[in-house]
Amino acid sequence: MRYLFAACMPFFLVVACSDGGSDDPAQPIGNMAPQAAFTSPTTADERSSFNASAGGSSDPDGMIVSYSWSIVNTDQIDITLQGEDTENLSISVGEIQNSADIQIMLSVTDDLGESASASSVVSINEVDAQLLPPMPNEQDSLATVAGIDTDGDGVRDDVERSILGLYPLNTPRREVLLIGASAIQMQVMAGNDGDQAESDAASERSADFAACALSSGSVETVRQDLAALKLFTLNTDARRQAYLDYEASRAGTIQRAVDPSLVDCTFEF
């Protein structure tokens, strides 16, 4: 459209740029192109929302009558748009596994059908891996029963990393698995320490995990998650023995099934 108007001389505009046969003498003899401009952040994190505003767009001889937003999402990350035909675009970013760029495209059209466009790149940051402690080296990680828990959240650093690898795009599930991982770590330490009170507390934590996990997953997926957690956690002979000692301590006890509505299923990480 910009090309057509640029080609039109004012003199001929009434005829050459008419809308198909009208001979209305009031038809403008010229139209200046609108200007597309928008503001948006240049970076955003996963699981965040931000806006792009086309308020800076203008039309020197008329008005903007329509907006059209789109994105170029080469890496196909989880992006949801709202207001694609309004002045303000809302962009929600879902879970991503790796940082990526998206390109936001805006096209505006004025009251005489002339259009203009603008674009801008936004870098979307993967944040979960950055929030975790670094993966410890294998020798250090396997050296003790307790292992390395740099951030002190009750889950070994290597296990946290493994859980992120298992569910890179599912934070709620990862939180549930972290509860399970903390339960197994408590069990290992209870078995290692031979402490019955620790064993009782670890069993309660295991029940919390069961309640949280079954609130958001089937019994089959929960069993699979549990197996993965044991694979990650019980990865030395000493840890396996400590876990078996914990198991032995549970014989003859009972453990209630808890009300899921009373359990805090979030995990700070």
Partner: protein, 443 residues
């Protein structure tokens, strides 16, 4: 519920009734039901550890609690796992997997037989297992290529056989949970046990011991057996074993077991190779076994009588049992300084409402939710009369729903009343305000 005291008893008493807000003032977050109560226990099988038993009992709670309480108005159903010592007995199964790993040349590559067992019983596919292994620290890259569907299928079949052999080798089992079942009965609660596989043997023993201990309430016990390896179920109770359950089939070749009694083959057979797993092979809603189990549970709920209420419970409940020696006594010291025992049974806070002087017990001390005090309660035992060393066990039930591991002590000689002032302390329970909520700690 028994009511023994008014709320105006003492200045320190945390005077609160029922209700969620008030429960924070006395720590009774696990509501004491006003109506009839039933405790449903899950007794796990040989390949199930305590974590998986917790998942199963939560699963059972999800299936049954709301529907039962909806069908039987005014009744409350609570769910517990009653874990059995399966770890020791499934060492034979672990050994089978060790051999599989050795045959495949990956026995020392970081994946243990125990870990492989966990992955197998979770029903993961070979691809899923390979992916999980790739994320674990310390496992060689030589391992994943060995884990194929064929490898897993062979392992499952060999494990089913090993599992049958392990069950056959169990011999007699102890009624590990009988004390809990008796405690429930005395508190007026029915006890139903849903048992799977080897868990049937433990459930049979525990229920039989409970019935013997409290014969007047024996008809308040119920049991549902699933894939039972037993030759006889407690009180000839209901069971379902599929006629193509590989584990029970293998076991039947070397042991006397109850006959299979259900054709469980669905239209599209989604079951595991063993046809023996609790959820997948018996509880799936598409299976005839599930319909039968549902119907039996409803039948039990509608027909089993509630026992008489003999023992109270509330914020704190301690129950003492012992052996055939004539008399062991339960003692409680309350924060107010009161010493509650057989000759001073009513304290400002709690009560000794069951006393026994004729062997075995039980004795029962409890503190109601509305008379709990801030401070420290101690629970102890004194060996009063007997001719030989006596073994005594105290089980503790807290108003927040926790049931700490029972503590057992061997008492060498009877001390008579001379021991009343210095009982052997088994539990120290702290009751304190934390962030305006009463919480219990146990030492």
């Amino acid at each position: 519920m028994m009511k023994f005291a008014s709320c105006a008893a003492a200045a320190l008493v945390l005077c609160a009734g029922v209700g969620s807000a008030q429960s924070e003032l006395n720590g009774c977050t696990s509501a004491i039901a006003d109506g009839d109560e039933t405790n449903i226990y899950f007794s796990n099988g040989i390949r199930t550890d305590s974590d998986e038993a917790n998942v199963t009992v939560q699963y059972l709670r999800g299936i049954y609690k709301q529907s039962l309480e909806g069908s039987f108005e005014g009744e409350t159903y609570s769910f517990y796992s009653a874990p059995n010592p399966t770890i020791g007995t499934y060492s034979d199964i672990v050994e089978v997997l060790n051999q599989k790993l050795e045959e495949a040349g990956i026995a020392d590559e970081g994946l243990s037989a125990l870990q492989l067992l966990e992955l197998l019983r979770a029903g993961l596919s070979a691809e899923e297992i390979r992916r999980a292994i790739s994320l674990a620290v310390g496992i060689s890259t030589r391992v994943p290529p060995v884990i194929t569907e064929l490898f897993l299928e062979e392992a499952e079949i060999e494990m089913s056989q090993a599992q049958a052999a392990a069950i056959a080798n169990i011999g007699s089992v102890e009624g590990l949970h009988a004390n809990y079942y008796v405690s429930d009965l005395q508190a007026g609660k029915r006890v139903f046990v849903i048992a799977h596989s080897q868990g049937n043997l433990f459930a049979n023993a525990s229920l039989s011991a409970a019935a013997t201990s409290l014969p007047t309430a024996a008809d308040s016990l119920g049991m549902i057996g699933v894939a039972t390896p037993a030759a006889q179920q407690f009180a000839s109770s209901f069971y379902r074993t599929a006629d193509d359950d590989r584990v029970i089939q293998a076991l039947s070749l070397i042991e006397t077991v109850l006959p299979a009694n259900i054709d469980n083959v669905p239209m599209d057979d989604f079951r595991s190779i063993s046809n023996h797993l609790f959820e997948r092979d018996y509880m799936d809603a598409r299976l005839p076994s599930r319909d039968a189990i549902d119907a039996e549970l409803v039948r039990l709920a509608g027909s089993v009588p509630f026992p008489a209420l003999d023992a109270g419970e509330g914020a704190i409940r301690a129950t003492l049992t012992w052996d055939e020696q004539p008399d062991v006594d339960l003692h409680a010291f309350e924060p107010n300084g009161a010493h509650v025992f057989y000759s001073s049974r009513i304290g400002p806070s709690g009560f000794l409402d069951v006393d026994d002087t004729t062997s075995f017990g039980p004795e029962n001390y409890f503190v109601e939710c509305d008379t709990i005090e801030l401070g420290v309660y101690t629970i102890g035992v004194n060996y009063y009369s007997g001719l030989a060393p006596s073994t005594a066990t105290v089980s503790l039930f807290l108003g927040d729903g926790r049931t700490p591991t029972p503590r057992t002590v061997t008492l060498p000689t009877a001390l008579g009343s001379a021991g009343n002032n210095s009982p052997q302390i088994l539990f120290t329970i702290g009751v304190a305000l934390q962030d305006e909520i009463v919480r219990y700690t146990v030492e």
